[in-house]
C-alpha cells in the first residue's frame, strides 16, 4: 500500500523560503483550487482560508455536477423498478460501489457497504459483528487517541454484553505505545478498533503492525479511516484489516454517505444491522430470508445520490493522484510546523513522527475559542474545541485546542495567513 508514512521521513525536507506553490511535484494547487467553488468566497472581507477540512472538507465541482446530474437525469429508486430510470439509478449506485471498492483497495465489490459515515460503520460492526460474539469478561481494545465515535459504540456494546473496554496508551508525542498495545492483546481480546489517522493529533498509526500483532492472536481489527482516506491511498487488501470505514463528507463528497469495508467471510456471518426493504430476499409473516452482503446491511432506500457523489470524488482524486496529494500536504505540514516554531507562545499538541497535515495548537494565555473567533475575523477557518476527542485533551491536559487541518487545496500562502492571524491573537491577548 502507498502510505503517507513512506513519504514522511524522520528528516523533513528543508522547505524554508520555497515560494507559495511549494516543491510538490505533480500538483498544480492553483488549478485545483478552481475546482472548489467554496474557496472563492471572502469571509469578513478577507479571502477565505479554509483550514477545517478534518471536520468536513469542501466540495469539488465534479462532485457537485455529478449529484446534480443524478437528480436531474437519472433519478429513481434503486433495485426496484423495471423502468429505464430505475435501471440507470441502480447502475449508477452500484457503479459508485465499484468506485468505493477502488478507493478502499478491496478485492470484491460485495465487501463494500454504503453507510451514513464512519460513525455508522463502527456502530454497524459493534452491533452486528461484536455484540453476538462478545461474552462477559471479553475485551475490546482501542487506543487513547480515538474519536468519540470509536469509543462510545464500544462502550455501548460492552454494556450490552458485559465485555470490557481496554485502552492502549499514547506517548507525549501522541504516538501509540506499540509495546503496551501488544501487552494489552490478551486471550480475552475479541476485537481491536483503532483510528488510522488521529483527527485531533494528526498521528498516523502504524496500522500494519497493529493488524499484524492482533492477527497473530487471531483478533480481528477495525480501522477508523475517516481522516486517512482524504490524504493517502488506502489498500485494505494489502493491510489485511477486517473492517475499514470512512466518511464521504471528509473525502470531499456529500454528507450522509460513507463506506464500510468488511472481509467477505465476516460480512457473510454477520447479522443484519437494521430491518426493512432492500435487505431481504423474501418476506412472509413466518420467516424472512435476508439478502447477501452488502445489501443485507442496507435496509431502506439508501443515499443513492450521495453514493454517486462519493463515486465522482473517487474519479476526481484518482486523476490528481494520492501520492501528489500526500506530498503537497506533507510540505504544508512541514511549513506550518516551522512557522509555528517561530512563535514561542504557540505549542503544538501532537508531534508524532508520522503525521498527517493536522496542526492542533494552543496559544499561551488565550483560550482556543477566543483563538477561533479571532482567526475567523481574519478569514481563517479552524476548529476550536475538543474535536470530539475529550480523552485526548485530558491526556495533554488542555481544555481545548485550535486545529488547523489541511487538504490538498491549501497553500503555503494560507499557512502564512494562519500565522499572521495567530499574531493578531497575540496582539490582543499577549
Amino acid at each position: 500500500m502507498t502510505m503517507l508514512t513512506e513519504t514522511i521521513s524522520n528528516q523533513p525536507p528543508m522547505t524554508v523560503g520555497v515560494p507559495a506553490s511549494g516543491p510538490s511535484r505533480g500538483l498544480d494547487v492553483e488549478r485545483v483550487r478552481r475546482d472548489f467553488p467554496a474557496l472563492e468566497q471572502r469571509i469578513h472581507g478577507k479571502p477565505l482560508v479554509y483550514l477545517d477540512s478534518a471536520a468536513s472538507a469542501q466540495k469539488p465541482r465534479a462532485m457537485l455536477d455529478a449529484v446534480n446530474a443524478a437528480y436531474i437525469f437519472d433519478y429513481s429508486n434503486v433495485h426496484r423498478g423495471v423502468h429505464t430510470l430505475s435501471q440507470r439509478a441502480t447502475d449508477a449506485y452500484e457503479g459508485a460501489r465499484e468506485k468505493g471498492r477502488r478507493l478502499l483497495g478491496a478485492a470484491l465489490r460485495d465487501e463494500v457497504v454504503f453507510v451514513r459515515g464512519t460513525t455508522e460503520g463502527i456502530n454497524l460492526v459493534a452491533q452486528s459483528f461484536a455484540r453476538p460474539r462478545l461474552r462477559a469478561g471479553d475485551e475490546v481494545l482501542i487506543s487513547a487517541m480515538e474519536h468519540h465515535s470509536n469509543i462510545v459504540p464500544w462502550q455501548i456494546v460492552c454494556q450490552q454484553t458485559g465485555a470490557t473496554l481496554r485502552v492502549a496508551p499514547i506517548n507525549d508525542r501522541g504516538e501509540l505505545e506499540l509495546d503496551a498495545y501488544e501487552k494489552l492483546l490478551s486471550e480475552r481480546t475479541r476485537l481491536v478498533a483503532m483510528v488510522h489517522v488521529s483527527n485531533a493529533l494528526g498521528t498516523i498509526n502504524p496500522v500494519a503492525e497493529v493488524i499484524d500483532l492482533a492477527h497473530r492472536r487471531g483478533v480481528p481489527v477495525l480501522l477508523d479511516g475517516a481522516q486517512a482516506a482524504p490524504h493517502m491511498a488506502i489498500d485494505v487488501a494489502a493491510l489485511g484489516c477486517d473492517f475499514y470505514t470512512i466518511s464521504g463528507h471528509k473525502y470531499f463528497g456529500p454528507t450522509g454517505i460513507g463506506l464500510l469495508y468488511g472481509r467477505r467471510e465476516l460480512l457473510a456471518e454477520m447479522e443484519p444491522y437494521q430491518g426493512g426493504g432492500e435487505m431481504i430476499r423474501s418476506v412472509t409473516f413466518e420467516k424472512t430470508e435476508y439478502a447477501g452482503a452488502p445489501h443485507k446491511f442496507e435496509a431502506g432506500t439508501p443515499d443513492i445520490v450521495g453514493a454517486i457523489g462519493l463515486g465522482a470524488v473517487v474519479d476526481y482524486l484518482q486523476e490528481i493522484g494520492m501520492e501528489a496529494i500526500a506530498a503537497h500536504e506533507h510540505d504544508l505540514l512541514t511549513y506550518a510546523t516551522e512557522r509555528f516554531g517561530e512563535i514561542p507562545q504557540v505549542r503544538i499538541i501532537g508531534t508524532a513522527r508520522h503525521k498527517a497535515a493536522v496542526v492542533s495548537f494552543v496559544v499561551e494565555g488565550a483560550h482556543a475559542h477566543d483563538v477561533g473567533t479571532i482567526l475567523d475575523q481574519e478569514g481563517v477557518a479552524v476548529r476550536a474545541g475538543h474535536h470530539c476527542a475529550q480523552p485526548v485533551m485530558e491526556r495533554f491536559e488542555v481544555p481545548a485546542t485550535a486545529r488547523a487541518s489541511f487538504a490538498f487545496y491549501n497553500t503555503r500562502h494560507e499557512v502564512d495567513r494562519l500565522v499572521d492571524a495567530v499574531g493578531k491573537v497575540l496582539e490582543i491577548f499577549g
Binding site: H44, G365, A366, H367, A368, H369, D370, T373, I374, Q377, A384, G385, H386, Q390, M393, P399, A400, K424, I428, F429
Partner: protein, 149 residues
Amino acid sequence: MDLREIYQEVILDHYRKPRNFSVLEEANHRAAGHNPLCGDRIDVYLTVKDGVVEEVSFQGSGCAISTASASLMTEAVKGKPVEEVERLFQSFHAMVTGKGDAPEAGVDLGKLEALAGVREIPIRVKCATLAWHTLKAALAEDSEPVTTE
C-alpha cells in the same frame, strides 16, 4: 467588526484576573454549568439572605468571554435583591442576544455593557450567558447541572 469591540480591556482584565474566583464554603445556593460544545465549566456559589444576594463566587475554566462574563456577573449581583438580579439577567440576555432594543427601563447594566459586542458573534452568545444560566439555576436550586444545549 473590530475585534477590540469584543476583546475590550475590561474583558481581558476580568479574564486574566477573575474577581470572586473561589469556592464559597458557606454558600446556601450552588449550581454547576457546562457548555458541552466547547467544554467550558463553571460552578456558581451564592449566599442568599432575606431575598438578597449577600455573597457570590465562581470557579471554573473557560474562554475569555465566559470567564469575564462570570467575573463581571459576580460584581454586578453582589448585594442585590434576587428580583433585581433576575431583571438584570433579562436585560443582559436581551443585550447579548440582540433581542429587544434597549435594556429594560430602570436597569443599569453598568460594566456588563462591555459584553455588548458578543451579539455580533451569535456562536459565542452561549459563552457570555453560561454563568448567568448557572446563577439562575443556583437561585432556583436546581440539582441538575445546567447545560447550554
